[in-house]
């Protein structure tokens, strides 16, 4: 379970997050939605121990990410693309990640095949298209066979086939008892897969709960999103 409690983040005079609280539960896909600049990535970066919170906690199964013994076997993550230097090959990237994470090398070929990059292992990351870069990022997230997946904008740059594939992947992961937290600003892509929704606007949670509850009274998730986020903007 991923638990975010009272999270606040300040960059100089800018308050990026205000008292953000929500949970992502096992067996469920939690969609983390909000416009650009709402604070989604900041929240995920704090959850993954990359940035420090000004206040509040972000815990993985009750522990901060940095205290996890083998973090990649617990949480697989992808932030903004593959996270590999462009001059190395996909296989070299996965290979060093596997070594550092204590994951057997055979997983490298397995995840390359799983994300559809089996033929591209020797290709340099800089030659990848945006979608292939996303797939490599997903491969890195899946490498340690983690219980939880934290993905920032995973459908960005994927083609329709890729989007359908990732929906199936996330659904399957949750149905097998795993936890999935994914951020997105693409409502339509998320509505089809999410169980729970957390709506963020201006660094505040404006709605959280079952997808059906949040969309109740609105024609679609997209309508609910605009209705909820614009009222927040107006009252600020």
């Amino acid at each position: 379970m991923l638990s975010i409690t009272g999270l606040a983040k300040r960059h100089g005079p800018h308050q990026v997050l205000h008292d953000v609280t929500f949970h992502a539960l096992p067996g469920r896909v939690t969609a983390f939605l909000g416009p650009n600049g709402a604070g989604k990535s900041s929240t995920l970066r704090i959850l993954l121990g990359l940035d420090r919170a000004t206040a509040g906690t972000a815990l993985v199964d009750g522990r901060p990410y940095r205290a996890l013994r083998d973090p990649l076997r617990t949480v697989g993550s992808m932030l903004d693309g593959p996270g590999a230097h462009r001059s190395r090959t996909a296989r070299n990237h996965l290979s060093w990640v596997a070594r550092a994470a204590g994951v057997p090398q055979r997983r490298v070929d397995e995840v390359l095949a799983q994300v559809g990059l089996a033929g591209a292992g020797r290709t340099r990351v800089g030659r990848f298209s945006l979608g292939m870069g996303q797939r490599l990022g997903l491969a890195t997230a899946l490498l340690g066979e983690p219980r939880a997946l934290v993905l920032d904008e995973p459908v960005n740059g994927l083609d329709p086939e890729g989007i359908r594939w990732i929906r199936g992947l996330l659904r399957g992961h949750a149905d097998a008892g795993g936890t999935v937290l994914l951020s997105s600003h693409l409502m339509g892509e998320v509505a089809g897969v999410a169980d729970d929704v957390v709506l963020l606007a201006g660094g505040r949670v404006v709605a959280a709960g079952l997808l059906t509850d949040v969309t109740a009274g609105h024609a679609s998730l997209e309508d609910a999103f605009f209705a909820l986020t614009t009222t927040t903007e107006a009252t600020r």
Binding site: L50, V75, L79, G83, A84, H85, V97, G102
Partner: protein, 239 residues
Amino acid sequence: MSAPPARVVTAELVKLRGLPAVVGVVLGTPVVAATLAAAHAAAAAAGASAGGLALATVPYLQVATVLVGVLAAGTEHAGRQIATTLTVTPARWRHLAAQSLAVAATSALTACAGLAAALTAAAAWGPGDGVPGARSGVRPLLGALVALVLVGLLAHAVTVLTRSLVGALVATLTLLLVVSPLVAAVTEHARWLPDRAGSLLYLPGRDPVLGPVGGGLVLVAWVAAAVLAAGCASARRDV
């Protein structure tokens, strides 16, 4: 600083192996070093020893170990690889120690290859006695190896601190190759600069105040200070 698990050090070595620029430095250094030693040998006066001619290439070999250090840390920040690195190994000090060890090993390999190639070329083309190291002994060459590895570690720490490949590269090379000789021309206090102090490891007796051990310790102190600053900075800041 807790000792990093071997697997994290191995991962850092695999990472360096995967960078074409680092592979280029490791493979290119012996070629360049041999050429430079041959050029020095051709220009040298009669009686110059092969060991002495090989040591004349150390200022250039510094560039190679600086590149290893700068590339190891600089490529983390060219793009977002650092996020991957620190999600896999969240302990900042542990990661810094592992990457420093990998840089030291790669620098040692590069410096060894460079010095060996320079020695061979100097022995082949030099006017000296033709027996590598016979006149100057092996000790200065080992001293040069230690100095080169320490310079690589210094460059690595500076890059972790500044997070800029170009900035750290320019700053380190300018300090070692431009500022240091300029300062040495005007003041004896230049002996406290990292490369001047380190040069006492292979050019003993060059300085009346610091000996080889003293010079080596001054360079170690520079490296320790830089690594400490880099570790504190990376432990505190957001990625």
